[in-house]
């Protein structure tokens, strides 16, 4: 009986960086995870014909060649969890310091990679996509990197109120079929509900949007600008007759934040916009207890920011303000700091 249900697509990926760009993650460093995005990875064998070439009498192609392997995107939309968010941040923000403040509790502090001391390479991981069983598809995409993620918190009940959308790119290196062991068990995750969020702006004008009960939605994104074309260098490698990449380099990294809030008396956002004074913005989400004094959590601090745009609108019959934040680089603390606490060790940490 032909036909495969899209939910029969199972994925696993390395929660620690590969040893190098060409070596797949070892089985013990793989997470099997559920995703909301049902689309499979956009992995293609790219071909080119000779239609544009002269010397063959007419415009019709006479041959077609395999040129390169392209992994144009791995959509990974998921409900927000301390484990997956830590992974997305640790594999993309750059510099990670891990500590264990209590037994079974792991804290990760992350700041953007310093290109002077750490270069511009992104940590590679392996993404495995299995459709039903090996005789349908069971492929390991080797040398992938997180290119961007977006955290979305919105008003309302249900798990849809807290989600993260990750997109990864890859070098085209692959193993087909995957010869390792696909994890039998799905990763146990701890949902971080938007109900446990905090969001505040501190500066000349201080606004706590949670205690004010005005916040409606928050969208926070981090993009690394990995240039796919730059992956394919001279001598970058060939697999099954087609070129593969040998580098995953970030270019122009962008931190973005926008939020929507119910209009408040004295319009603090307008005052922030007009003053163009620096402020500190803190977004946090606290989830269930791991052990006494330590919860699954995330915290993101913009050390220096300004509101760069503000627009009024309506939502569900209420007047709201939609604000865009410009993240600026603080001379000492840099652009931003991400801190998470979870119950899994060594996320994003090289073996």
């Amino acid at each position: 009986m032909p036909g495969v249900n899209e939910r029969e697509v199972s994925v696993a990926f390395g929660y620690r960086p590969q040893a190098d760009i060409a070596t797949k993650n070892v089985d013990g460093a793989l997470w099997r995870k559920t995703l909301l995005s049902t689309a499979p990875a956009d992995f293609q064998a790219v071909t080119e014909d000779d239609a544009a070439e002269k010397g063959k009498d007419d415009e019709f192609p006479t041959k077609n060649d395999l040129v390169n392997w392209a992994l144009n995107g791995i959509p990974m939309e998921a409900y927000l969890s301390s484990q997956f968010f830590t992974w997305a941040a640790a594999m993309s923000v750059g510099t990670v310091v891990k500590s264990s403040p209590a037994a079974g509790v792991f804290q990760y502090v992350m700041t953007p990679q310093n290109p002077v001391s750490a270069g511009i390479d992104c940590p590679p991981f392996t993404f495995i996509e299995r459709i039903r069983s090996s005789d349908y598809q069971n492929i390991a995409l080797i040398g992938c990197a997180v290119d961007s993620w977006e955290l979305n918190l919105i008003n309302g009940p249900g798990k849809n109120n807290a989600k993260i959308n990750v997109n990864a790119l890859g070098t085209g290196r692959h193993e087909n079929p995957f010869t390792g062991t696909f994890p039998a068990a799905v990763l146990e995750e701890t949902f971080l509900n938007a109900g446990g969020a905090s969001f505040a702006i501190a500066g000349a004008i201080t606004t706590n949007y949670v205690t004010d009960r005005t916040i409606r939605s928050i969208k926070l994104g981090w993009a690394k600008g990995i240039d796919q074309n730059e992956m394919y260098g001279v001598g970058s490698g060939v697999q099954s007759g087609a070129q593969v990449g040998d580098r995953l380099e970030f270019t122009n990294r962008v931190l973005s934040l926008s939020f929507s809030a119910t209009l408040k008396q004295n319009a603090p956002e307008l005052a922030q916009l007009l003053s163009q004074e620096d402020c500190v913005i803190t977004l946090g989400v606290t989830g269930p207890l791991i052990t006494a004094g330590h919860n699954h959590s995330l915290s993101i601090v913009f050390h220096k920011a300004r509101i760069s745009a503000r627009q009024t609108g309506t939502e569900n019959g209420k007047i709201v303000v939609n604000c865009t934040v410009k993240a600026l680089k603080h001379p000492t603390n840099g652009l931003f700091t991400v801190t998470t606490k979870t119950n899994v060790d060594n996320i994003g940490i090289a073996a």
């Binding site: 310091v97 700041t111 310093n114 000492t332 801190t339």
Partner: protein
């Protein structure tokens, strides 16, 4: 506490594992090293 190393000077410093204490050093390029690494002072420049 965690230990961070300055890749330029080789100095290893023990630091409180708080975002406030870690962030300025991480931004400056310090990287985490094993807890077994002995803390050192900054290497003196040769005259």
């Amino acid at each position: 506490m965690v230990k961070l190393k300055n890749p330029d000077t080789g100095e290893v410093r023990e630091v409180q594992a708080t975002p406030e204490a870690l962030t300025p050093l991480m931004v400056a390029g310090w990287v985490q090293v094993s807890d077994d690494t002995p803390a050192t002072g900054a290497k003196k420049e040769k005259k």
